[in-house]
């Protein structure tokens, strides 16, 4: 095991979190009108940033991407705090991040392929 994390590990962790967050958004939108439902969010970036501040290798699999209820948004009369616009915005952001990670991963693989094909 090397002392630092490889780029691929970071990208892998990012993509995993993105799909988890997409699930949370889908759940929120599905429960748009469910009485008493509070929206879900995924906490990962803050945990990653804190882990990266500590020296040496970071065990990415140990950073648990947690689903939590922020309970910050205003609650509607039926006790539900999901807002469709907010969820759409989160989805747009999530999609863009996902796209960026996928492109970076592809770039990395292209680089490796280039190294393999050198004669």
């Amino acid at each position: 095991m090397s002392k630092t994390n490889s780029i691929i590990e970071y990208i892998e962790a990012g993509i995993k979190v993105e799909s988890l967050r997409q699930k949370a958004i889908a759940t929120n939108i599905a429960n748009l009108e469910t009485p008493g439902y509070r929206r879900l969010d995924v906490k990962f970036e803050e945990l990653l940033a804190r882990a990266l501040d500590s020296p040496g290798r970071v065990e990415l699999s140990e950073i648990e991407a947690g689903i939590y209820q922020p309970k910050q948004t205003p609650v509607k009369s039926n006790g539900n705090d999901v807002n469709l616009e907010t969820e759409v915005g989160e989805m747009v952001k999530n999609t863009l991040r996902h796209k960026a990670y996928i492109r970076l991963l592809k770039k990395k693989y292209n680089q490796m392929e280039l190294a393999i094909n050198i004669k």
Binding site: N83, E85, T86, V88, G89, V92, K93, L96, K99, A100, R103, L104, K106, K107
Partner: protein, 134 residues
């Protein structure tokens, strides 16, 4: 709402969508209650107005500040048979003016569309940047 990263235009546009959505909600309440002569407090329905405020200094989103009742006078119409009529036969009607509400609805809808357009355009911009990674 914290605004500090590459996605801040998205957050700002979403705050605009939410604020305009609230405004449309108030307009729909006003329009629905245009003939509500008894709103429970012994007076007819009072039209509601939504006011906005910025989320912070400098570049920031918008949020709903207050939902305030319009304190202008109620128009009175002569309708002696109406259960809410006074001793002279006049009924106080809600201070909702339908043409005003319709114009406000158009303005709010256009503002909503403008925010949606910004969101879409910014999404395309980020995608253009991501094309560079191909």
């Amino acid at each position: 709402m914290e605004v500090n990263n590459i996605f801040s235009p998205i957050d700002i546009a979403i705050s605009g969508l939410r604020a305009q959505g609230k405004r449309i909600e108030a307009i729909s309440s006003n329009t629905t209650n245009i003939h509500t002569t008894d709103a429970g407090k012994g007076e007819p329905y009072r039209r509601l107005e939504v006011t906005f405020k910025t989320d912070g200094d400098g570049i920031s989103g918008v949020s709903v500040d207050k939902i305030v009742p319009d304190m202008s006078d109620f128009p009175k119409v002569l309708r002696p048979g109406h259960p809410d009529a006074d001793e002279n036969g006049y009924v106080a009607m809600p201070n909702v003016d339908l043409p005003t509400e319709m114009i406000n609805l158009t303005v709010a809808t256009r503002a909503y569309q403008a925010n949606a357009a910004i969101l879409k355009r910014y999404q395309q911009m980020v995608e253009t940047t991501l094309e560079l990674l191909r």
